[in-house]
């Protein structure tokens, strides 16, 4: 049964790790550039977390409102990110997203249409005009399936249900990776001239999350261990609307599209509390009465958006405020109501089922609630990390030569807070760029040397949980970490709690060295959980340490001991780097000065 520490070798020009939207798009591009591409994914192809994305993909196509263009999209993204974004990425993203979306249509995507037959776009939080191309509320599925069905004809070598354990370097440069296949537990060495990380996020570090088991921060941790910089790790997006009841579904996402279609948030007193707290930065763009809000969601171009469509960080905090003040729903959330539109439109039940089919089924089947007739109960859920691997805005290369990153595991585009819809476009725009530049790097640089000793040591380490005497249960350790992060480095933070968080992570690190696994290597989830711990602990520590360093509140990072924004901290990104002794160092990286053209755009958009 056991194969010891032997391994199989593979050779590619470009290795892509992760097969969600970013990984697939990178693979397609690298392959189109002539590279031989290996694509490694932890799940079956087409199951990655992109499949969960609901609302849409943001691109200034201007199909619904012709006032929209890349300059508005750019300024919306920067404002949403509180100007900590990598402005070059925000610029490229806004300019290139429309082409990337149209390209999906060329590959077979079937998005909802405008009356004149073009791609329909919907409203979303923080976007000035209707901008999200979508398919009902299953846009992510449409996107990943389109990329998958196109990609399988591109000659990619796909390795399904493989996990990467270690990146292998030759000098400064990354030249390969060690992984294992989950089904059989055999080791594999992937030699590659360039590697693209597209591993998604870190949601499994938290107890309440909309993320799947795969989101264990693998790319973040692999890059960190290989010496790459991580940036903005304090910025985590808690999506304002996750399910809160029943307990087993707590955290599952309720799309922002519900609010985009007219859904409103109310507290236990029936009040639309979002009108009470509209930030200054958005006052001019936000409706100050319910009627104007309704006109906005039904397409009135002169109306301003309802406060339910303010940025996610703000809406999440308002919900927490209601529940903490005793005005929450019975199960600790608030009410999200779309059924009220029956007052406004005929046949509202059919309309809701058509616009929000997955939400209708999700609540019907998991909570026994008919959203066309009654309100949902919702509360914040860990959804997305803005921070990640620090990359060059044009090429997506990290600070380690040959190592690229795209999608959620990269940082930069979203700054302190991501706008809904901007991650699907992120995957496309920067997946393509990462694939293109990784292929170019692979052509320019030859093969590196793979050190067999490094591989041997990494294999021994990964097999240790079977052999050691320890008595720690890896599942238990993961639960404890999730509780720790939820309680101490969650939506509302303070120094004392976060210090406890850091200490707790260090303690769990020690206990993880005693994690023991039974059975053998074939599809053994206990072993997989034990191996995931290392990555989860690294990203958790990086989040806590970065959050401690930023002594202000901004975007997704809110500190009750420093509740205001501090202009003195408006010009740096928090960077985490591994020291040569292996300790985690935190520093502040000045943001480069923005070009005059972009400064003018931001001024002009107000």
């Amino acid at each position: 049964m056991e194969q010891g520490s032997s391994y199989t070798s593979h050779k590619h020009d470009v290795l892509v790790i992760g097969a969600g939207g970013a990984g697939l798009r990178a693979s397609i591009e690298a392959s189109a550039c002539g590279a031989k591409v290996g694509l490694v994914c932890k799940s079956l192809l087409g199951k990655a977390h992109t499949v969960m994305a609901e609302g849409g993909v943001a691109a200034a196509l201007g199909n619904v409102d012709d006032r929209d263009n890349w300059r508005v999209h750019f300024s919306d993204t920067m404002r949403g990110g509180q100007y900590l974004n990598n402005w070059r990425m925000a610029e490229l993203h806004a300019k290139e997203a429309p082409d990337r979306v149209r390209e999906l249509e060329k590959w077979g995507a079937l998005m909802d249409r405008t009356p004149d037959g073009r791609i329909l776009q919907r409203n979303f939080g923080g976007h000035r005009y209707p901008r999200l191309a979508h398919v009902g509320d299953r846009t992510g599925l449409e996107m990943i399936r389109t990329l998958q069905d196109h990609g399988i004809h591109q000659g990619l070598d796909v390795f399904m249900e493989y996990t990467v354990l270690e990146l292998i370097k030759d000098g400064d440069r990354v030249v390969g990776a060690l992984g294992y296949d989950r089904e059989r537990g055999r080791f594999h060495v992937f030699q590659a001239n360039a590697i693209v990380l597209a591993t998604g996020g870190i949601g499994r570090a938290y107890k309440i999350t909309s993320n799947s088991w795969e989101y264990t921060g693998d790319g973040h941790a692999l890059a960190y261990l290989a010496g790459a910089d991580l940036a903005d790790m304090e910025f985590i997006q808690f999506h304002p609307t996750g399910m809160v009841w029943p307990p087993s579904v707590k955290g599952i996402l309720v799309t922002e599209g519900v609010r985009g279609e007219g859904g409103v948030l109310r507290n236990s007193q029936g009040k639309r509390f979002m009108f009470d707290d509209i930030p200054d930065l958005y006052k001019d763009q936000t409706a100050d009465n319910e009627e104007e809000g309704w006109r906005y969601v039904t397409g009135d171009k002169d109306a301003r958006r309802p406060p339910e469509l303010l940025t996610r960080d703000h809406v999440a905090r308002c919900i927490v405020n209601e529940t903490k003040s005793g005005r929450g729903s019975p199960h600790g959330g608030v009410f999200l109501d779309i059924s009220w539109v029956k007052e406004k439109i005929k046949d509202s039940e059919a309309h809701i089922r058509k616009k929000l089919p997955s939400m209708y089924h999700q609540f019907k089947e998991l909570a026994g609630i008919d959203i066309t007739k009654e309100p949902m109960e919702v509360g914040p859920t860990t959804h997305y990390i803005m921070g990640g691997i620090r990359v060059d805005g044009d090429t997506q290369m990290s600070t380690v030569p040959g190592l690229f990153a795209a999608g959620e595991c990269a940082s930069g585009l979203h700054g302190a807070n991501r706008l809904g819809g901007n991650s699907l476009s992120d995957l496309l725009v920067f997946g393509k760029r990462a694939g293109e530049h990784a292929a170019a790097f692979a052509t320019e640089h030859g093969e590196g040397d793979i050190d067999a000793n490094v591989i041997g040591a990494a294999i021994d380490e990964s097999l240790a949980p079977f052999e050691r005497e320890g008595d720690e249960n890896p599942y238990q350790l993961q639960y404890e970490l999730q509780d720790l992060m939820q309680d101490h480095v969650g939506i509302v933070r303070n120094e004392a709690d976060m210090m406890k968080g850091v200490a707790g992570v260090r303690e769990l690190e020690e206990r993880a060295k005693k994690a023991r696994v039974d059975g053998h290597r074939e599809f053994n989830p206990g072993w997989h959980t034990a191996l995931d711990l290392r990555n989860l602990l690294i990203v958790s520590e990086a989040i806590a340490r970065s959050a401690l360093d930023r002594t202000e509140s901004r975007g997704g990072h809110f500190r009750e001991d420093f509740p205001a924004k501090d202009e003195g901290q408006a010009n740096h990104n928090t960077v985490v780097r591994r020291s040569s002794e292996g300790s985690m160092n935190v520093s502040r990286q000045q943001i480069a000065a923005m070009s005059d053209e972009l400064i003018d755009i931001i001024k002009e958009m107000g």
Partner: protein, 255 residues
């Protein structure tokens, strides 16, 4: 259902042909689904119990299994919908070889999909390279594109499950996939020969079992398979068409 009830499970475990049911029990609370119970059993008493899952929200189609003999997504099967007076049985899908415990080797599906001719759009409608399509026209194919590739339809299909004709039958999933392409408003390809010869659509005798188990409620048989069967019949078996072909010059397949 009262909360905090102890429930027994019979879970099929093992590899290849060496399998057996093992009994486990765990505490079930309000709102739990079968996948929650499996995770709890993993954490409490069977750490190496193999099962696939991802989204836990019915969107990725990873946790397909047979619960009390019925093909279902474990994440969408609520415990309080089951008879808990006797042990709940959980088995892997039967139409595919078992790897371990609840995990099966579904790679055959990926191979079948790859041999189906890919999307091939007509020339763009507009000089800017875009197309115009009406909502009513996209909706027909959108129904098929809801498929989450859980393969429960494949599992329940007797051609695969009972007769094991994986060598000459693509199965409902791939008829839905083909229907999505064939009914795509922009597509110009013709896949009828593949449907007839390689994917053996003729083996389907429309028992509609696939439609019944589809968690996305796709009307597989009526909306996908039957129209495709009709097209195949028109193309290859219709006597009038055959007669016309004798007298008319050979034309390109339907465009």
């Amino acid at each position: 259902m009262s909360s905090g009830k102890t429930v027994s499970f019979w879970i099929s475990r093992g590899e290849g042909d060496r399998t057996e049911f093992k009994e486990y029990s765990t505490t079930i609370t309000e709102g739990m689904v079968v996948l929650d119970a499996v995770h709890q059993i993993q954490a409490e008493s069977a750490p190496d119990l193999a099962c696939r899952w991802n989204c836990k929200a019915g969107k990725c189609g990873s946790c397909s299994a047979e619960v009390n003999g019925k093909p279902a997504l474990m994440c969408m099967t609520r415990m309080n919908d089951l008879d808990l007076s006797q042990p709940v049985s959980i088995e892997p899908m039967k139409a595919f070889p078992r790897i371990r415990d609840l995990v099966t080797d579904v790679s055959w599906n990926y191979a079948v999909k790859e041999r189906i001719k890919k999307f091939n759009p007509r020339a763009p409608d507009s000089p800017d390279g875009t197309w115009r399509m009406q909502q009513a026209d996209v909706e027909r194919a959108q129904e098929f594109r809801k498929c989450i590739e859980c393969f429960l339809c494949q599992d329940v299909c007797h051609v695969l499950r009972e007769h094991g004709r994986h060598d000459r039958f693509g199965g409902p999933r791939h008829f839905v996939y083909t229907a999505a392409l064939e009914m795509h408003p922009l597509d110009t390809e013709n896949r009828l020969k593949g449907l007839k010869d390689t994917d053996g659509i003729g083996y389907c005798n429309i028992t509609k079992c696939c439609t019944k188990v589809c968690p996305e409620h796709i009307t597989i048989t009526d909306n996908a398979i039957i129209p495709l069967k009709e097209r195949v019949a028109d193309e290859f078996y219709d006597p009038l068409t055959k007669l016309f072909r004798i007298f008319k010059p050979k034309r390109e397949p339907r465009r």
